[in-house]
């Protein structure tokens, strides 16, 4: 059984396994081998560990060059340095070219960067990456799902972006639970007063909010959305028609991530009120729990927002 703790170790474990069975798998790192917990990969497969130095644009370009020859590169580092500093390379040389490159961007959200502060917390990555044709965007909610997402990414032909965290994420999913190809996993079905769509590493907080709401007589459904702008959102739409109030919760800016995706689905398919819980400003340094609580992701805060949304209907 593979052992890992947190999304970074989960990525490294999956990469190691993929490399052991597929000699086309290579790892490209802009001085991020240690940050990605992939030192054992580098030591075991020195020829397939491609170090680019502190140079993200170079790393993405190198990955494009590798993929153009049929290799299967995984690029791992902080998600903002990928999607913003090397965003144009991701767009032009991987998205436009539709090359088979996989990106794992860590430190996503305030939880991803927590004590590091704003320079190392990234809440804009999804807004950019979801605007790139050909990219598949995966947002696992815990370490197990990160492991499965990396394995799934290797099956997809074309560019994939996977959103990772700090490495200290809480385990929620059962071990070996598959990464939903439908882009949705329903976790709680207490009722349809509201449907709470969660994305990423706030799922534990959303589940806790559902329990609080239940105690207060508000019965909600909670679903984890793990693929943004997936090709077939039919199961998400099935859930959307069951309620008159949707809440989205994501550790990302309020524009461009889950809230935007669900709002689009609602507008185009089934008009329904959507309240988005997300970030509206740059955050700050702090311990993970206190920080997430302060920026709107406490179970109590989420529950309160749900109740206010229902009251305003």
């Amino acid at each position: 059984m593979v052992e890992f703790k947190g999304t970074r170790e989960a990525f490294a474990a999956a990469l190691y396994e993929l490399a052991s069975v597929n000699d086309k798998v290579v790892g490209v790192f802009p001085d991020a081998l240690k940050a990605m917990r992939a030192v054992s990969f580098g030591e075991t497969y020195p020829d397939r560990y491609i170090e680019c130095g502190i140079a993200e644009q170079c790393a993405v370009d190198v990955a494009a060059g590798l993929a153009s020859t049929g290799l299967l590169p995984f690029v791992g580092t902080y998600c903002g340095f990928l999607t913003m500093r090397a965003g144009e390379q991701m767009r032009t040389f991987v998205g436009y070219t539709d090359l088979n490159v996989k990106f794992i961007g860590v430190n996503a959200g305030v939880l991803g960067g927590e004590r590091e502060g704003v320079t190392h917390q990234f809440y804009e990555d999804l807004a950019f990456i979801t605007s790139l044709p050909n990219f598949t965007v995966l947002t696992p909610a815990d370490p197990e799902q990160m492991y499965e997402a990396v394995k799934y990414a290797a099956e997809i032909c074309g560019p994939v972006y996977i959103r990772g965290g700090s490495g200290r994420e809480i385990e929620i999913y059962e071990k070996d639970a598959p990464f939903s190809r439908d882009g949705i996993t329903v976790w709680k079905e207490y009722g349809t007063d509201a449907v709470l769509f969660s994305s990423g590493y706030v799922l534990d907080r959303v589940l806790a909010a559902a329990e609080l709401l239940k105690e207060q007589g508000v019965n909600v459904t909670v679903a984890d959305i793990n693929i943004l702008y997936g090709k077939n959102p039919s199961r998400i739409l099935e859930l959307m028609v069951k309620t008159d109030q949707i809440i989205t919760i994501e550790d990302h800016n309020i524009n461009g991530g889950l809230g935007s995706y669900i709002s689009r689905l609602a507008v185009e398919n089934r008009p329904v009120k959507v309240k988005r819980i997300a970030l509206t400003d740059y955050a700050e340094s702090g311990p993970a729990k206190e920080l997430a609580d302060a920026y709107g992701f406490s179970p109590e805060g989420i529950a309160d927002t749900v109740k206010k949304a229902l009251a305003s209907q």
Partner: protein, 273 residues
Amino acid sequence: MNTQELQKMAKKLRYEAVRMVYEGKDGHPGPALSCADIVTTLYFDIMNVDPNNPEYPDRDRFILSKGHACPVWYAALNKRGYFNPKVEHFQLRQLSSMFQGHPSMHSTKGIDMTSGSLGNGIAIGAGMATAAKIQKRNYYTYVICGDGELQEGVCWEGVNMANGRKLDNLIVFVDRNGWQSYKTVEFTVGQNNIADRFRAFGWHTQEIDGHDYDAIKCAVAIAKSAKGRPSAIICDCVKGKGLSYMENNNAWHKGVPNDEQWEIAKRELGGED
């Protein structure tokens, strides 16, 4: 090809490049003419490619990092036999044309990598060269950059990385014509000491006349013998080379000949013959 044959071919490619800009009414003729002799020597003498099997894994790779010079590359691919039947009118930059404003690997047969966003060719080439090492293939990766383009920081990220991995199967030509979009490279950054910079970054570095076919061939042979280091071949070139009114005239960085100028081009570049 011998020197005379390369000279004749380069003239044809120059003619085709200018013609496609004239017919398409848009494009960068000056940069295309600048690197025409390097492109000609690569495609008609140096590179191991097979137009009938353009994807074969052991082929040499080529990236035109200064992608705006693509008219001369399109002309070379056409003459080399990548398109069947041969293209008569390129329809450069026109809707639904296979000849995009900047090179696109999925639009045009024979193009190994999309380019045109300046600065990225060296790092992408380093990726291709790394892939050859990993897969134990013997192909070389050739890149043509502009000297102005080297102001992009990512160039030097790629230069660092290629040195770190000892990519002696990567050969970068720098088309040093001294010009960029607005003014000269010297005006812009105070100097154009490209060779010194590549040497300082650990690369095997040569300086040649970029319009001398024998010098280009010789420099590539020397680059291949320099083991354990990537190679830079700094080529002194004349922007707009071969067409009197375009030579060293930066107004032709981007521009379209009028009918009168096109008549002059036909006379000077010899038409199809």
